[in-house]
Symmetry: C2
C-alpha cells in the first residue's frame, strides 16, 4: 500500500482550475490543471511549490462515536455527478503543533466543532485529507473536496463556518483552488 500521493500542477490533466487564491500567507504558483497520482519518488522542484505531496493517514482527533456518525453519512470520491472539486493546502502555526493532544482536540472539536460542521454537509461534500507535515512539505495538510455543481453554495458555506472557528486562528498559510472535472473517466 502506498500512502503518499503527488498533486501535480500541469498544462493538462483530470481537473481544470477555475480559481486559485491565497487566503493566508504566501501564494502558490498558479496552475491550469491538476492530477493526483500515487507518489513515485522525490522529484526536483522549486522549494515550496508544485508538485505537492501528501499521505493518507490515520485519524488524529475523531472519536468512535463521531466516526460512526461520519461513516453512516459520507460518500466516497469519484462520484459521476461530483464534477466540482477544491484543493485547500493549509499550514498551522508552531503554536498549534506545540500544544498537547488534549489541547488540540479541545480546540478542534469542543471549541471549533470541526467534525460536527463537516457532518452537516454530508453526503453532498466528499472529502479526503492528506497529511504532509512529516514529509517536510510547505503545508501541513492538503484537503480535497468533491461535490456536484448544485452543491457549490453548500461548500462555500462550509468553508465560511470553518474559517470563523478558533481552530482557524492557528492557520498561518491557506490556499484555495477550485476545479472542475476536465476528463470524464
Amino acid at each position: 500500500v502506498i500512502n503518499r500521493f503527488a498533486f501535480i500542477g500541469a498544462e493538462a490533466g483530470t481537473w481544470r482550475v477555475t480559481s486559485q487564491k491565497a487566503l493566508s500567507g504566501e501564494a502558490l504558483d498558479e496552475i491550469s490543471h491538476l492530477d493526483i497520482v500515487a507518489f513515485q519518488s522525490d522529484v526536483s522542484r522549486a522549494p515550496g511549490n508544485w508538485p505537492l505531496i501528501g499521505a493518507k493517514s490515520n485519524l488524529r482527533y475523531t472519536t468512535r462515536t463521531e466516526l460512526n456518525s461520519l461513516r453512516s453519512r459520507q460518500e466516497g470520491l469519484g462520484r459521476p455527478q461530483a464534477t466540482r472539486a477544491a484543493l485547500i493546502p493549509l499550514r498551522k502555526s508552531a503554536a498549534w503543533w506545540d500544544l498537547s493532544q488534549d489541547e488540540r482536540r479541545a480546540i478542534f472539536e469542543e471549541q471549533s466543532h470541526h467534525s460536527a460542521i463537516g457532518l452537516d454537509y454530508l453526503p453532498a461534500i466528499a472529502r479526503q485529507l492528506y497529511h504532509c507535515r512529516d514529509l517536510d512539505e510547505p503545508f501541513d495538510f492538503l484537503t480535497w473536496f468533491e461535490f456536484a455543481p448544485e452543491h457549490t453554495r453548500h461548500f462555500d458555506n462550509l468553508l465560511e463556518r470553518l474559517r470563523r472557528t478558533r481552530e482557524w486562528s492557528f492557520v498561518e498559510r491557506e490556499v484555495e483552488i477550485r476545479l472542475e472535472r476536465a476528463i470524464h473517466g
Copy 2:
C-alpha cells in the same frame, strides 16, 4: 526546519552495533555501525531495508498534565555519559490504525500506561521518537534511546514492561538494535 532523518547502516559511523535481533516479524539486514543524519533526498535501496527514514513530529496521545511531568524530568540526547543506545523500529497492525483516536489513546495510556512507564525511567533513559508510517517506510516508528552503561538493566526492564502491555499486542514487527558510541564528539 527539516523534520526527516535518515538512519544509515554502514561499515563505520558514530554508533557501533553490539546486538541486533528481530522480536516480531521480518528481520532487517544486519549492520555494524549506524549514523543518524538530516534527510537529503530519497536514495536507492532494497525495499524495506537501510537506510530507514523517520520524522520528528508532534505528540499524538500525550495530555498537558503528562507532558508537564515528562518535561520536568527528561533530559536530552547527546549527554557525554550516555554511551549506550538502542534503536527499536516498530510496526503496528492495520487493526491499530483503524481504531479511532479515543480508542488508541485508551489502549496507549489508560490500559497500557505507556507514558507512565516511561516516566519511571527518567531522567536515566533519554528518548526520541521518529514517525514513518506516512513516509511509506517499512516501519511505523523508529524509537531511539540513549543511556549510561550503568543504566542498561533499567532499560532492559523498561522494554520488558512495555512489551507486556495490551498496546504491544498490536505490534506486528519489532527489531531491537543495541549500540555503543564509537566516536566521541
